[in-house]
Amino acid sequence: MKFFIPLDSAAVALGADEVAALILSEAARLDVTVEIIRNGSRGMVWLEPLVEVVTEAGRTGFGPMTLADVPGLFRDLSAHPKALGLVDALPWMAGQTRLTFARVGVIDPLSLAEYEAQGGLSGLHRAMGLDAAGIVAEVTASGLRGRGGAGFPTGIKWKTVADARADRKYIVCNADEGDSATFADRMLMEGDPFTLIEGMVIAGLATGATKGFVYIRSEYPIAIRVMQAAVRIAEDGGLLGPSVLGRGPRFDLEIRVGAGAYVCGEETSLLNSLEGKRGVVRAKPPLPALEGFMGKPTVVNNVISLASIPVILQRGAAFYKTFGLGRSHGTIPLQIAGNVRFGGLYETGFGLTLGQIVDDIAGGTASGRAVKAVQVGGPLGAYHPRSHFDTPFGYEEFGAKDGLIGHAGLTIFDDSADMLAQARFAMEFCAIESCGKCTPCRIGAVRGTETIDRIARGDATAIPLLTDLCATMKSGSLCALGGFTPYPVLSALTHFPNDFAPVKEAAE
């Protein structure tokens, strides 16, 4: 029997290792020969651990698996209480447009042969038939924008680095995915690491960079382990090293590990950290594209931006651009989290409304209570009320609602949430994680928590003070940490004023 059992962090956190171990020992007891592939997650976290059995009909799913469900896998499968049917036919899977995540959960993440068999490296092969300018033109034409949150056009960033003259250039992958509700980078690295490596190699060809770094947060031990193994396999397979695929230029890749500083997800802070310095934000200009790692021209891209490059080269910019809405082209891996019935990763073209995502795809809350707020874009994103549920998922569309899509994480809260407490947490988090370089962030966040405490004690005169402080932080901070903390604070205040009322009537 052949099994797929995810090695993905979420699956492991829900018992996948124990299920895998029991399947092995049960098979030994029954004298059944089994093969277990530890794959990535399909992204249906509510079904994890999701065990797949290869049958004549295809890959059949069973989940969420407990240890008690294991013996049944060796009896009549159709009678198994956790049988889900063919995994690819499940509505969650069938409804998606999986371009970047096409292989995640499908293949053995550390099999370069399987990677190639499933379309891997065909983007790189096509790129090697183009010149550097041709690759940049393709990426520009695809309309791909930075998936880390800032939404800057990837092609333009690459062109800046390609046009810069220097003896060395670098590709730095920002895998410091610190935003709550986001786990797409982690899932991609754990489930299909060669896609990221291929994207970085293509970025090297396009810009003349010969060295890459993946800066992964230390909170992701499994992603670190898989990426380190994948780099060694890619070196042995000739994808990385002195000559890419034996006919290209040199490209080396190094995995680096962060050290628990949220602010290092900001690109200049990340570069300082990579250089071995305090993760303090740098003022821009100079742009990292011109003076980045060690002062050399550097592409800094998010994991998902880089991992979307292979499919863009493979299937062409025009194909990729057919998905999406307005100026948000292509697909986006939505990460649906928090108090949610069906949570996980759902890749789709831009343009679904917030309501379609929360009510239809995610099925509302896990608690069964009403949805009160959805925070979109991580800790620096706004809290959206139900009245925003008609907002289409796109960079500009959420900007118009005084919010942002960030790294496309959505945290759902039910009606027991206290939005004043959430606003206070945003300020507290900013105070804890501030790098300390600029005053509005370093001091403002501390004063922000104090001011919200005054409001909580019933002092309504502190409300205009909070609004004023947020304006200062927004316009006076060097980076998004201080500059965007006002999004969750002000959205909570604007959309949920009852939670900030001097007398909380409900509490009386």
Binding site: A181, L345, I412
Partner: protein, 159 residues
């Protein structure tokens, strides 16, 4: 040197670690990670040696070490329990779980129980946001870590 005894074999081990990172661009974080992996903390006696080897001032090395939440000056308890405090976990009751952990262990964040068994630490996101609340105990990930689950975990790490 601060108030912690110099671990035995420190000088040799630092030398080895520095050699392992020879030629690396920006080696300081990897060096500190390796030291912490070897000793469970970053022995402060190592800082001047690192500073000399990397041509940095002691203040610079101290500045880097103290900037990052991960690096500890002193050993943690025998078990480290990290609870996620971030929003997705809050939406599933992480604040309640944290209060329960603090009460049961009798410590606040970053505290170690009197017996030295358990250190309690906050963490901001383990990427387990769709199976919140999340925890990490001695490096092992735990999803849907409500009060009951946490109690079972703490029962297992009393030693």
């Amino acid at each position: 040197m601060l108030d912690h005894a110099t671990p035995p074999g420190l000088a040799d081990r630092i030398e080895e670690i520095l050699n392992d990172h020879n030629g690396m661009e920006g080696p300081l974080l990897p060096v500190l990670h390796s030291l912490q992996a070897a000793f469970g903390h970053v022995p402060q006696a190592a800082l001047p040696i690192i500073a000399r080897a990397l041509n940095l001032s002691r203040a610079e090395v101290h500045g880097v070490m103290s900037f990052y939440h991960d690096f500890r000056e002193a050993p943690a308890g025998r078990h480290v329990v990290k609870l996620c405090r971030a929003e997705a976990c809050q939406a599933m009751g992480a604040d309640r779980v944290a209060a329960h952990a603090k009460a049961r262990l009798g410590v606040d964040w970053h505290g170690t129980t009197a017996t030295g068994a358990v250190t309690l630490e906050p963490v901001f996101c383990l990427g387990l946001c769709a199976c919140a609340p999340a925890a990490m105990v001695d490096g092992k990930l735990i999803g849907r870590c409500d009060e009951a689950r946490l109690d079972a975990v703490l029962d297992g790490v009393r030693a």
